[in-house]
């Protein structure tokens, strides 16, 4: 009996230890299983990005603008809603598109219109037997819907990739880095899009390579040229362009570059454009400048130039960006009708994807018939995922 009690006592004493051992083994097994699961998830995320399907991102901005000219009323401007659709089809192929809804497009039905749908049994139209129906037509529209980018990339090597479709013309800095949530002002420098076209429908070869401690990147492109949509190219000539960019290993960032562009416009005007750009950043101070110059030779009449440049300085102070810019644009140097704008601005970055801007622009026109003006803009800008 004593032996039985002693055995029972021993069993009761050891039981928690046995249970504990089993629990520890189970926990270790579960931990290992979880680690395997996490490993699988991380490997999936890093090596099979193309399986994640199409991603949708975008940005939006709204602004309140006050202009010193009496003819322009203060306005709230719902400026952009742009949606980006992007997919990494494979390690080397990538699709990208941007559909831009600019100025809140609004389509309204107009007056009802009667439309003939059946001429009746005698096939002679205009008789009382004819059948009509009433339809609504699009009467008014505001804003625009625009396919700003639609392209397919093939990344062969870092130094040689291809892009075909519609893309932002690789020219200077602002023509590429222009989205409101990531630039300091709603107003772009005056010459942007006026010397180099905003977008190009065509093909580009691009890449980056290191030369000692420098990085050289390039975009060599050919496209339909200005004023020619994807649907219809109205002339036989293709526009050609080259953007070169050199990143120097000085300061936090030191970039210099140049852009060349050649096109024959639909009216036969021969266009040669040239640009230079630089961006320098050290600590919280950043300087950015661009210069562009186009020589246009019409079939009839004298040649003329378009010329523009700007110099912009930014200072980062925690979540604030303070800045100023001077910019100049002459749309036809022959006539000397230039304009200059001096800008002061401040941004408050609520997050990296959301900011508020206050900016003031003072523009002087050389032409005395055009009234000089001040413009003040308050805006909110949001980048919607990426």
């Amino acid at each position: 009996m004593k032996q039985a009690i002693a055995t029972l006592y021993l069993a009761l004493c050891l039981c928690p230890a046995i249970t504990q051992a089993a629990t520890t083994a189970e926990l270790e097994a579960r931990l290992q299983a979880l680690q395997e699961e996490i490993r699988a998830i991380t490997q999936y995320e890093t090596s099979n990005r193309q399986d994640q399907g199409m991603t949708v991102a975008g940005y939006t901005d709204a602004a309140y603008t006050v202009d010193s000219r009496n003819s322009i009323s203060p306005s709230i401007h719902l400026h952009h809603l742009s949606l980006f659709f992007k997919q990494e089809i494979s390690q080397k192929w990538r699709f990208f598109s941007e559909i831009e809804f600019e100025d809140t497009p609004q389509f309204e039905t107009g007056n009802p219109v009667s439309v003939l749908v059946d001429c009746g049994i005698d096939t002679m139209c205009g008789t009382p037997d004819d059948t009509y129906t009433t339809i609504n037509t699009l009467g008014t529209s505001e804003g625009k819907i625009f396919t700003e980018a639609l392209n397919l990339d093939f990344s062969w090597r870092a130094y040689a990739s291809f892009r075909i479709g519609r893309f932002f013309t690789p020219a200077g800095i602002w023509s590429i880095d222009h989205y409101p949530p990531f630039v300091a002002t709603q107003e772009r420098p005056r010459h942007i899009r006026k010397i180099f076209p905003q977008t190009t429908d065509g093909i580009t070869l691009y890449g980056i390579t290191s030369v000692f401690t420098h990085f050289v990147s390039y975009d060599l492109f050919a496209g339909n040229g200005e004023g020619n949509s994807s649907q219809e190219d109205q002339n036989n000539h293709k526009a050609l362009g080259l953007r070169l960019n050199l990143d120097l290993p000085y300061l936090n960032n030191f970039t210099v570059g140049t852009t060349l562009y050649y096109d024959i416009l639909n009216d036969g005007t021969d266009k040669n454009a040239f640009g230079m750009h630089t961006k320098i950043r050290q600590g919280d101070v950043e300087l950015q400048a661009e210069y562009a110059n186009a020589l246009l030779k019409p079939v009839i009449g004298n040649s003329y130039r378009k010329l523009g440049y700007y110099l912009q300085g930014l200072y980062q102070l925690d979540n604030w960006t303070l800045g100023l810019r001077y910019d100049f644009y002459d749309s036809q140097t022959r006539l000397k009708v230039n304009e200059t704008t001096r800008s002061l601005f401040v941004n408050y970055h609520i997050t990296e994807n959301l900011n508020l801007k206050l900016e003031q622009h003072a523009t002087d026109f050389q032409d005395p018939a055009v009234e000089n003006c001040y413009k003040t803009i308050i805006s909110i800008n949001a980048s919607l995922g990426h």
Binding site: I176, F182, P249, N252, H386
Partner: protein, 127 residues
């Protein structure tokens, strides 16, 4: 008032990765200039969330800008379709695990967080 000390940050790669890197090269990786290892395999870049003090330390020391500014630059590259390589933003434990299990990965974490892991190699400590 409590003053939060800047964390010491460890830049880490997988222990199988034998490629030597300089701080300048790491900066170029995070600036989207270098996208592949010497064996031409794509670099898997890991970042911490913008609010992480370790990311602030890393961004200031390596990229010369605030974490928010660096994140905005990365977002800008994405929406302008000029990004050459994607950066994954993960919490610290997942960054460590990702680097430990992926020989093409690079990341950075608070130095005090990596003491127990065998499959990662510390390239640099920065502060």
């Amino acid at each position: 008032m409590t003053v939060q000390a800047e964390p010491r940050v460890a830049i880490i790669v997988n222990s199988e990765n034998s490629q030597p890197l300089t701080l300048q090269e790491i900066s170029n990786i995070y600036n989207d200039r270098i996208t592949t290892w010497n064996n031409h395999e794509k670099i898997d870049i890991f970042n911490l969330p913008t609010a992480s003090p370790a990311r602030e330390t890393f961004s200031r020391a390596l990229l010369g800008m605030s974490a928010m500014r660096a994140a905005a630059n990365e977002a800008n590259r994405h929406i302008t379709n000029t990004s050459r390589n994607t950066q994954h933003v993960k919490r610290e434990r997942l960054v460590i695990l990702s680097v430990a299990t992926n020989r093409n990965a690079i990341g950075y974490v608070k130095a005090s967080s990596i003491t127990q892991h065998k499959n990662i190699k510390v390239l640099f400590y920065i502060k």
